[in-house]
Amino acid sequence: MRDYISTDSDWTFELLETYDREIGRVAKLYGLDTYPNQIEVISAEQMMDAYSSVGMPIGYNHWSYGKQFLATQKSYQRGQMGLAYEIVINSNPCIAYLMEENTMPMQALVIAHACYGHNSFFKNNYLFRTWTDASSIIDYLVFAKNYVRKCESRYGQDEVERVLDACHTLQNYGVDRYRRPKPISAAEERLRQQERESIRQQQLNDLWRTLPTRKKDAKQVKRRQFPSEPQENLLYFIEKNAPLLEPWQREIIRIVRKISQYFYPQRQTQVMNEGWATFWHYTLLNHLYDEGKLTDGFMMEFLTSHTNVVHQPSFDSPYFSGINPYALGFNMFRDIKRICEEPTDEDREWFPDFAGKDWLETLHFAMRDFKDESFIQQFLSPRLIREFHLFSIYDDESEDHYKVDAIHNQAGYRKVRENLARMYDLSVREPDIQITRVDVEGDRSMTLRHTQSDGKPLSTDTFEVLKHLHYLWGFDVHLETWNQDQMVKRMSCPSISVEL
């Protein structure tokens, strides 16, 4: 029985609606729980605009977005790169951009991928549930844009740019990792912003107030330890405690911090997110094909794109640029399904928990409660390691050679899996830097501690970053690098760095 939805490669709005309805119907069969979709058809130029504003539909103005735009425009016009087929935003309703140049099969792929794959991931993964509030993000961005613009007209474009520059260099250090911020609406945000402004200055004065009288007993006077515990959210600490900042500067720091926090889950779930979306566009469209609603031509075109997306070049290929998150994620979700449906003895040994269980339930569980690092650690099977021919290299700066320390064999599976998982661990990828001490009663200098892991040094950017940090803090900033219990390097701004 054949009942094609369309036979042409051109799309129309009616067809988009039909496909969306059909895909949505099938998605429900698989239990995909999504926000409502807002599908927006845009042109290539608009796609470039979207690119250069980190995919968000609205944002404050800053030169770095202009730079991004120029770079995108150039490589697109020279044909060095194609534009993504879609961009999807973690908001409620979930906004997805479709490019008008896409053919009908491509649009259907994108709808399945973005509007049902990514969308359900945004709504259900624990990181997104904990750290982002999809319903308020657009409002917040509008608030941020207006606020920054207001500051620009009041304090000058250069002043505002200076603060934003400084915040951008530290934006990865502006996220809370362990506390749940309360989601707030734009209206609340505005109200509270005004309140904060007035209260903040008072608090600061309090903090810096010296004790009026000293007890004679010198032993009693303990040096105040501030902050009482090391702070890893640098921007938060500065926003709350930097002595010289104006209230509007604190608000701007807060804006950058909030937006950075919003992107924090995305940085940790790339493999899972793309893998999940790819798995579902593949599954949903195949389901429709099996129902006889898609033509063979449609499927050919769809499969061609799909195959390109999940292609993983070898490490020695000229096209190699790291592990393709689409390929890894897609294959892992497929593999989980396989382990549930047709487990081998090896699978039963490695995954006793879910081998042979209901695949849909296992898949949803994997999507909901993990991030890239733990997902790989828990679900990467020996069989997939073999298929990818994964191997692990040990690179020690002090050695002349790289060492192959594990390959896809019995002895190596666990090691490969662990090392691969660590590559996606943010706390390994990013240097561990925390504020340990502020000399409240002395020169007000701030000391940061970089806890070195595996002897990895900081990049040459570091001093530039310190300059920005110094600008925000207003007093001397020191950065100490500690290896175990030994300080190996101390860098100060303003000043020179000293190798110990």
């Binding site: 770095s64 730079k67 425009q73 190699f320 290299i393 192959v404 090392n419 990895k456």
Partner: protein
């Protein structure tokens, strides 16, 4: 539940503001690049954009990250022959420099950030360099000047262009034309009616018949529309480009040993400005390059700006050659003649009065404008004195200035670009 929205009609230049921010931040770099481009390009080739390159280290946004070094494990796909325990040679790069994988992730060794600026932006930076007033900038940057002219009448147009007289005339003519047959018939019928009424025995039947016919005709005449769409006539306006005639631009320059490349670069901007002005006002422009030391020679642009000469300086030789060329090729009745002369002020002492004489007697009567700049930080010499005298008597046609940088050039042309002069030239 899904909504599908067509956003294609929304503005596409959402990134324009951010782009401008970027250009603003890197203004100094862009100005340098424009300046280079000006020196590289031909005078007649200023009307297009330019690729700008900025060293990446300047546009780089720093972040706290790991540098190369330390100990780490990395996992790669596509193993073919490696066994656990194998050792691989590191690529030789002074001990470190990252292995194969990580380094290639970071855009391979491209250390320039490059992008294009548009023609308008290019001109803007150029004009900024020349310190042009906004009015002049705008006039020069317009791609072409148009003037609307009346061009008869057409049957379609906007109500504001409606020509009432023409329309009414047409309506009248149409009413006459369309009613002519009926009126003729009406006249006949009336005659018949009168005849019948005055007849001895009026035939009431016939009279009634005539009266009915007359009434019918009169009704039909009345329904002729007073004004019809067909009658409407609109004044037609067409745009015509204003450049109408031909101009020749003489570039005169001293190329004696004392003229350095820097001075020549400033001089080039001087010529560019005049050229851009002419381009807006004349359809056809020819440029004649005359360089001189002790003797003058007509040369190509390339030779003009970049070949080196030494020797003394006799300015009058160039003026003579210009006069000669004008007589041979550019009849002042057909051509608008403009001249721009640049020099460092050196001249053979006895020659300056001669120059002054040639200018006032032979050249100034023919030219539209003669501009002279002296690019020197030193004291003026005889030539300047001689020319100063001319300024007094010919201040509409002759302008001169001593300049140190490109920003000083514009005042020389102030008169030329002044509004009334500009209008006149058009």
């Amino acid at each position: 539940m899904s909504y599908i929205i067509d956003r294609r009609l929304n503005g596409k230049n959402k990134s324009m503001v951010n782009r401008q921010r970027f250009l603003r931040r890197y203004r100094a770099h862009i100005k340098d690049a424009v300046s280079d481009a000006v020196n590289r390009r031909s005078i007649t080739d200023m009307d297009r954009g330019e690729q700008i390159s900025i060293p990446t280290r300047n546009t780089h946004e720093p972040h706290l990250t790991h540098g190369p070094g330390g100990r780490q494990h990395r996992v790669y796909p596509g193993n073919k022959e490696f066994q656990a325990g194998d050792e691989l040679e590191k690529p030789k790069q002074g001990g470190q420099g990252g292995g194969s994988g990580q380094a290639s992730n970071q855009g391979d060794g491209e250390d320039e950030f490059s992008f294009y600026i548009t023609r308008d932006e290019f001109l803007n930076y150029l004009f900024d360099d020349l310190a042009l007033p906004n009015m002049v900038k705008k006039t020069l940057a317009q791609s072409k000047n148009f003037k609307t002219r009346r061009a008869g009448f057409v049957s379609e147009g906007t109500p504001n262009n409606l020509s009432i007289v023409r329309t009414m005339r047409n309506a009248h003519a149409r009413r006459i034309g369309m009613g002519a047959g009926k009126r003729k018939k009406l006249k006949e019928l009336r005659a018949l009616l009168e005849q019948e009424q005055q007849a001895a025995v009026p035939d009431q039947l016939k009279i009634n018949e005539y009266m009915a016919a007359i009434e019918d005709l009169e009704r039909r005449l009345k329904t002729l529309p007073f004004i019809d769409d067909l009658d409407l006539r609109f004044r037609n306006q067409i745009k015509v480009p204003t450049p109408t005639s031909k101009a020749v631009m003489f570039c005169l320059m001293d190329v004696s040993g004392s003229m350095t490349q820097d001075i020549k670069d400033i001089a080039k901007r001087f010529y560019i400005l005049l050229y851009l002005f002419l381009e807006k006002n004349y359809e056809q422009i020819e440029i004649v390059f005359i360089r001189h030391h002790t003797s003058a020679k007509e040369v190509t642009e390339e030779e003009f700006f970049y070949s080196r000469e030494t020797g003394g300086t006799i300015v009058s030789s160039a003026l003579k050659l210009m006069h000669q060329i004008v007589e041979e090729r550019y009849n002042p009745d057909e051509w608008n003649i403009y001249a721009a002369q640049a020099s460092d002020g050196d001249n053979w002492d006895d020659d300056s009065p001669v120059c002054s004489q040639i200018l006032t007697e032979q050249l100034l009567p023919f030219v539209q404008y003669f501009a002279y700049i002296e690019i020197t930080p030193n004291h003026h010499q005889a030539l300047w004195e001689a020319y100063t005298a001319i300024t007094a008597s010919h201040n509409r046609k002759f302008a001169m200035a001593q300049i140190r940088g490109p920003g000083d050039i514009y005042p020389v042309f102030r008169e030329l670009f002044a509004k009334d002069r500009y209008q006149e030239a058009v």
